[in-house]
């Protein structure tokens, strides 16, 4: 079986900075990978390359065996990749329900012509309702997405990502800005997503949670992979230790 995602020698340069410098890794279907690294390590850039928002200078990105390096985000989403944004981007003028219904109707919006021929939203609305309940947003369906507090918007991002029926989900800091309780429920949701068979790639600053839920850890520093494998083994590696965590943080992460 081919990997769910394969990154092969990907690199990109912004002016004088080599943001991502020859990164290669593959993620098995059903795996749960945490992508970490200090600020400026190239995590967000790498995620943007995987999501199709940036074209790498060299290297290839493959989804379920097929090369998508030249494809835009929308095409990749249609091939089974879902993503959430680090800075939430709901359709603020639409209701929570409509945000998710639109995502659930991904087969309706394949092209404008097909979209023009369909009006009925019943099936999509039902599915969207279930997903909204699953992420813990039940009761907010009729509210405008722009009126939700940040914690709920973060969940809406996850709901929208799930609604496109993905095989792989890329979560870019889904816990950032959430308080303890909110973060705990969000982690719960993410674990359930993984249990339902979806491959998860999680970019996160919250090391404690990453260590707790990921099965594999990738550490990025200066645009290169400096650690890869079992979370505890990786965190114990002195190279990772020096580059990223620093003494105090390791004990914190292992706690």
């Amino acid at each position: 079986m081919s990997a769910a995602i394969e990154i092969d020698n990907v690199a990109i340069r912004f002016g004088g900075i080599q943001a991502v410098d020859g990164v290669s890794f593959a993620v098995k279907a059903g795996d749960f990978v945490g992508l970490i690294g200090p600020n400026g390590a190239g995590k967000t850039t790498l995620i943007r390359i995987v999501a199709g928002m940036l074209r790498p200078d060299r290297g290839r990105v493959k989804l379920a065996g097929s090369d998508v390096t030249g494809d835009g985000t929308a095409t990749r989403v249609r091939r089974g990749l879902a993503l959430t944004h680090q800075i939430v981007r709901p359709f603020r003028e639409m209701t929570v329900l409509d945000n998710v219904v639109l995502a659930a109707g991904i087969h309706r919006t394949l092209n404008p012509f097909r979209a023009l021929l369909h009006i009925d939203r019943k099936r999509e609305s039902e599915r969207a309702g279930n997903i909204i309940a699953q992420v813990g947003l039940a009761g907010t369906e009729r509210k405008l997405a722009g009126s939700l507090p940040l914690g709920q918007m973060k969940r809406l991002e996850v709901a929208r990502a799930l609604a496109v029926d993905p095989k792989v989900i890329l979560l870019d800091e889904p816990l950032a800005g959430l308080n303890h309780t909110e973060a705990a429920t969000q982690v719960e949701t993410i674990s359930e997503v993984h249990k339902s068979g979806i491959t998860v790639i999680l970019v996160e600053h919250n090391l404690e949670e990453v260590m707790r839920i990921c099965r594999r850890l990738l550490v990025l520093n200066n645009g290169q992979v400096i650690g890869d494998g079992d979370p505890r083994a990786v965190m114990a590696d002195p190279v990772v230790h020096d580059a990223y965590v620093g003494g105090g943080m390791v004990t914190h992460a292992e706690a």
Partner: protein, 282 residues
């Protein structure tokens, strides 16, 4: 009906088609176009040439529709590269380019325009009925699109292209579709205008007209088909009903545009909705 009333109703019908079609591009899909007059003009000239050479009404309308749409899709490609204010400026440029081009073309009659365009044979009242039927069809199409998945996707693209991509919607395809449909209808309106006047010059399709159409969309309530229809009718009748409005047309329309944007960004549609809610509550 007097000849005057017939001509007013005909102009209202044409303006309704123009404003509603512009609303599909700028209201539904969020692509601000200030060059709608150019597509209207392209359709009018195409229909005039078709009428002069063949005299077939059906052919003239088809040619007008297709010419408007082709030009619109070409400009639509610009919308894939430039956004918001820059797109508005680009479309203004398209309008001026159109006028400048037409004025210098001998085969389009140059400054003198095209005159002695054969009549449709329906008479003024018959033309008016045809215009009104097309206007109703345009309004019906607008309501349908708004309810369909296409309208749903348009709203997503208009609001946030990045977010639209994350739900698998290709903004490029939808923007081209919006321009293609909206400008095809503008072209159609151009064909109807040609039948109505039987004489066209480039001046009828200038930037001022494009701004007036945008004023109808904004005052009516950007994105609301009903609001835009009401504004198109009202703003066409206003200069007829009040002499001084006609004399100070640009000043008054410009002033209204500024007032609406500043005080009631949702236009007539939002005001009516607000009033409805208040009445319901009391």
């Amino acid at each position: 009906m007097s000849a005057y009333e017939v001509s007013i109703v005909s102009i209202i019908g044409i303006n309704v088609i123009l404003a509603v079609s512009l609303n599909m591009i700028s209201g539904f899909c969020g692509q601000i176009s200030l060059g709608h007059g150019a597509f209207f003009g392209a359709g009018a000239y195409a229909a005039a040439l078709a009428m002069v050479s063949t005299g077939s009404v059906t052919l003239a309308l088809c040619v007008a529709l297709i010419t408007g749409s082709i030009l619109g899709i070409i400009v639509g490609f610009a919308s894939l590269r430039v956004r918001t204010d820059f797109l508005a400026v680009t479309t203004i440029g398209v309008n001026f380019l159109f006028i400048g081009f037409v004025r210098k073309q001998a085969w389009l009659g140059g400054e003198m325009g095209i005159s002695a365009i054969p009549a449709t044979g329906l008479g003024a009242a018959g033309n008016m009925v045809m215009i009104l039927l097309f206007a109703c069809a345009t309004v019906a199409l607008s309501f349908y699109i708004s309810r369909s998945w296409m309208g749903f996707a348009f709203r997503a693209v208009g609001e946030d292209e990045g977010a639209a991509a994350t739900v698998g919607i290709s903004s490029a395809a939808y923007k081209l579709a919006a321009f293609g449909i909206g400008t095809a209808l503008a072209g159609l309106a151009g064909g109807l205008y040609t039948f109505f006047t039987q004489f066209i010059t480039a001046d009828a399709f200038d930037f001022i007209l494009s701004v007036m159409l945008m004023a109808m969309v904004v005052i009516g309530g950007i994105g609301s088909t009903w609001g835009v229809v009401v504004a198109a009718i009202g703003l066409t009748l206003l200069p007829e009903a009040m002499r001084f409005v006609n004399d100070y047309r640009l000043l008054i329309f410009g002033g209204l545009l500024v007032l609406v944007i500043r005080l009631a960004p949702g236009g007539l549609a939002a005001m009516a909705h607000g009033l409805f809610l208040r009445v319901k509550r009391s």
